[in-house]
């Protein structure tokens, strides 16, 4: 059974001697901070098995592969990751709050429908929630009850951007989309009836999907 070359042991042991004065002397602090090692490079152990080379002839990257991991200043990246996570968490909470507000609004609309004798189409409500639930990072729409009993969700944005979706209750949406395309002053207007997918394609064509969800 082949034995590991002694250089490998040297290199390994060095990683567990963080207080070894000789290590600190080898590299000036500035160099240590700017190694720019990647995890892949640091875990490339090929150098450990390089036979016939002396410790002195090997680069510090070869002899101390883990130094890059321990010495690298991760704080900017960690802070960036934390910010991203916090941002996502915040968006999630906002979306959950939006969902609850929409639920409350629909309860109000149902109550109004009962008191005013306006129809309230349950099939439209089912389609509405199917659309909403498919969007975890939903932005809160304004919700209205049309005289025919259908629910209508409306999102408004800058420069007259507007998405109005009436849920017809058979997997179809009656949509109205207004948006100003880049390089134009007047808003383009589109309306029609389509499936969920078809409607989303229409919205994507105007590049205003971000009105609906993150």
């Amino acid at each position: 059974m082949p034995s590991l070359p002694s250089v490998a042991t040297d290199g390994w042991d060095d990683q567990f001697l963080p207080n070894d004065a000789s290590m600190d002397e080898e590299l000036p602090p500035t160099t240590r901070r700017n190694w720019g090692f990647t995890l892949a490079a640091a875990t490339d152990w090929s150098g450990l098995f390089t036979a016939g080379r002396t410790h002195a002839s090997r680069s510090s990257e070869e002899t101390k592969p883990f130094r890059a991991l321990t010495d690298c200043d991760y704080s900017p990246r960690l802070s960036e990751a934390a910010k991203l996570f916090d941002g996502l968490e915040l968006k999630n909470r906002v979306a959950q709050a939006a969902r609850q507000q929409v639920k409350n609004r629909i309860s109000f609309l149902l109550q109004e429908a009962k008191s005013e004798g306006i129809p309230f189409d349950r099939a439209s409500e089912v389609d509405f929630w199917r659309f909403i639930d498919a969007r975890p990072l939903l932005k809160k729409p304004r919700v209205f009850l049309v005289d025919n009993g259908n629910l209508r969700a409306v999102w408004k944005g800058e420069k007259g951007a507007h998405i109005g979706l009436q849920f017809l209750g058979d997997g179809k949406i009656q949509y109205v989309v207004f948006a100003t395309r880049p390089g134009t002053l007047e808003p383009s207007r589109s309306y029609g009836r389509d499936t969920f997918e078809g409607t989303l394609r229409q919205i994507a064509g105007f590049e205003i999907e971000d009105l609906i969800s993150e």
Binding site: R105, F108, L109, E112, A113, E116, I118, R142, V143, F144, L145, V146, D147, R152, V154, K156, G160, H162, G164, Q166, Q174, Y175, V176, F178, R189, Y191, G192, R193
Partner: protein, 146 residues
């Protein structure tokens, strides 16, 4: 006089039911043309003298429907609304349509009643888009009661 166009610089208000207003935003469904109606009912503010509050008070007094507190009165500029829709709806007009007194129903005459005319009945998706365009012209909303 019945059928006369309102001056472009004047204003009208329309009662918007609570199901068509959300957080102060009026939906196009608040401007739905009811079956059998010639146009969308509005009240001409400048028919009455006085400031905006006095005009609104007159309109509130002449109402013939039950107005809910959570509804609102949406104000439109006659000229701006017509201009905004003219490309899509060249035939749009806002005209006088005074209502006679209805003693049986206990209603006084409403000389400020007017109509937004020219909206098509079909196809529904186009009608909805036009209604949304009218809703875009809402300048301000007012409470139904004070």
């Amino acid at each position: 006089m019945n059928g006369d166009a309102l001056p472009d610089y004047d204003h009208v208000v329309r009662y918007v039911r609570p199901t068509a207003i959300d957080e102060g935003i009026v939906d196009g469904s608040g401007f739905e043309l009811r079956a059998g109606h010639k146009g969308i009912s509005v009240n001409w503010l400048e028919y009455f003298v006085g400031d905006k509050e006095a005009q609104l008070a007159e309109v509130r007094q002449l109402r013939r429907l039950h107005w809910k507190k959570s509804g609102c009165l949406a104000e439109l500029s006659v000229g701006a609304t017509k201009r905004h829709l003219s490309d899509q709806l060249p035939g749009i007009s806002i005209v006088e349509d005074p209502l006679d007194a209805d003693p049986q129903g206990g209603h006084a005459a409403d000389p400020s009643h007017s109509l937004i005319c020219g909206l098509p009945n079909d196809p529904p998706e186009r009608v909805e888009a036009l209604q949304d365009m009218i809703a875009e012209c809402v300048i301000k909303t007012y409470p139904t009661t004070v």
